[in-house]
């Protein structure tokens, strides 16, 4: 009896490993196909270095996300490529970009990010008189609402903790005066979490890396966010990035309660 149990268990593990291997082969083939397609079509498409070409692409999009969230789930972060992606987003007409990595690597290198993004941003003639704000959640939520662009750098501590901070503040006020809880509703909390309307919820979240999770990106904001993937942000090509934005542009949303 015990022998057949071990044998069937071993068989099950072997079959499962086989299925996972086949899955890995399938994913790799799809990635290879995508890479080949981009390689072969690249002579006919531009590389995102000229803003007029990017603006032409933007005009063909039915809709552009106002706020794009980039979630980096890969352990190695390449700031050159990240900065390129952020600027393509701005050039396409995205107003806010938020970059998130759970462990706060990007936050620790925020100066590096700032330098690279600002350099590319100011190269763009259309943005000569535009303001670009780059900072953490606190910096951005305290800045005045402007018509320029904004890059917010987030990490795990901006997720649950922000909601807890708001809740704690309400509790402190409630202890002082007993008439508070009736004023609390969804829009009140939303106001608090969005820095009085400075930060909007992301319309599109692009997860870089093959992990199927938002990895703690501020949950209050992801209510209606379309979630899509890029296999990696390393050596990301403009065309790959544009494909995701185009996919977003064709999706429909229905709003219930």
């Amino acid at each position: 009896m015990p022998f057949s149990l071990t044998a069937s268990k071993t068989l099950a593990i072997v079959v499962l490993s086989l299925i996972h291997s086949m899955l890995w082969v399938k994913t790799s083939l799809i990635m290879l196909y995508g890479w080949l397609y981009l390689l072969l079509s690249s002579p006919f498409k531009h590389k995102g270095t000229k803003t007029e070409m990017i603006q032409r692409d933007a005009k063909q999009l039915q809709k552009i996300p106002l706020h794009l969230a980039i979630v980096i789930s890969e352990p190695q972060i390449v700031y050159v490529d990240l900065a390129k992606m952020i600027n393509w987003a701005f050039s396409l007409g995205v107003q806010f970009v938020s970059v998130y990595d759970m462990k706060g690597e990007i936050k620790r290198h925020i100066n590096d990010v700032k330098i690279r993004v600002e350099e590319l941003y100011h190269d763009n003639q259309n943005f000569t008189n535009q303001k670009l704000i780059i900072g953490s959640y606190e910096t951005v939520s305290q800045s005045l609402h402007s018509t320029g662009n904004c890059l917010i750098v987030l990490s795990e501590e901006d997720g649950f903790s922000r909601v807890i901070d708001v809740a704690t503040e309400f509790c402190r006020e409630a202890v002082k005066s007993t008439n508070q809880s009736s004023n609390i509703d969804v829009s009140h909390i939303d106001q608090q979490l969005s820095g009085s309307g400075c930060i909007l919820e992301p319309n599109l979240a692009i997860i870089c890396g093959n992990i199927n999770s938002l990895m703690g990106y501020p949950p209050w904001w992801t209510r209606l966010t379309e979630i899509m993937w890029l296999s990696s942000h390393h050596k990301i090509s403009y065309q790959e990035f544009l494909l995701v934005i185009q996919r977003y542009a064709t999706c429909q949303q229905r709003f219930g309660k």
Binding site: C171, I211, S213, M215, I227, C251
Partner: protein, 251 residues
């Protein structure tokens, strides 16, 4: 509700029929030890639907093997807001201190209460968003978006979702561990801060690290007791609501 009146009425009627159908299968529910909970703003539903819901929940309340949570008249933001409101009332009544508010406490005040967070979230119909569903709880869940429409969902689609979960398992586990570690650190720092604030200047200057650690341990135990009483109070309030709607079933 933002849908048309006809649509809402149709959905309510459907809900009543399905609940009645479910109650007919109560032996099956008993046999498999299924506990059904309905999460959401039940006050928005018509009285008869509320009573049907209360009946189903109370009948299966004692079961503890399989849990089915049905989110009906539910949005995640509303759920989080209600939890925050309860916390605020608790603080106003002195049941908890504002410094007691933590990720863990808020989670225990959500409709999902002490249920573990979902490991796997499957969204059918090809849409790739969460639509205000379990935003807090699914923050570190494996997300699986499938093109199949719900009525056509088959066992193979479920297998495919489980394979995705397996593929992502170690990365997501690592992320969760990291989050729990950070949580514990923050909680410990908060307890320590509270203990230090309670001391006057003379105490602060002569106290040593060992004594502080001991005091923090005692404070943490007291805090745990406070929040347990508070959480029990919230549960009893929710139970009272169910008892009010369906007094004939006693637990």
């Amino acid at each position: 509700f933002k849908r048309s009146k006809d649509e809402v009425d149709g959905l309510m009627e459907l809900a009543k029929q399905k609940i009645a159908r479910l109650l007919e299968e109560s032996d099956l529910l008993e046999k498999h030890n299924v506990c059904i909970r309905v999460l959401g703003d039940l006050n928005l539903l018509s009285r008869d639907v509320q009573e049907a819901v209360a009946r189903t929940v109370k009948l299966t309340q004692k079961n503890n093997k399989l849990y089915l949570n049905v989110c009906f008249s539910y949005t995640s933001r509303h759920e989080i807001t209600e939890a925050i409101k309860s916390l605020t009332e608790g603080a106003a009544n002195g049941m908890i201190y504002p410094s007691d508010v933590s990720d863990e406490l808020l989670e225990r005040c959500l409709y999902t209460e002490d249920s573990p967070p979902p490991d796997l979230l499957i969204r059918t119909s090809g849409e790739v968003r969460l639509s205000d569903f379990l935003l807090w709880q699914s923050s570190y869940s494996c997300l699986c978006f499938q093109n199949v429409l719900w009525p056509e969902f088959s066992i193979w689609d479920l297998f495919s979702a489980v394979l995705t979960y397996q593929k992502n398992y170690s990365a997501i586990q690592e992320a969760r561990e990291h989050m729990y570690t950070e949580r514990r650190k923050r909680l410990h720092a908060s307890d320590r801060q509270c203990v230090i604030e309670q001391m006057d200047d003379t105490e602060k200057s002569r106290i040593n690290e060992e004594e502080i650690t001991e005091r923090v341990r005692v404070y943490a135990a007291e805090r745990e007791q406070r929040i347990q009483s508070f959480v029990d109070f919230i549960r009893s309030q929710r139970q009272q609501f169910l008892d009010f709607l369906c007094p004939e079933i006693c637990i």
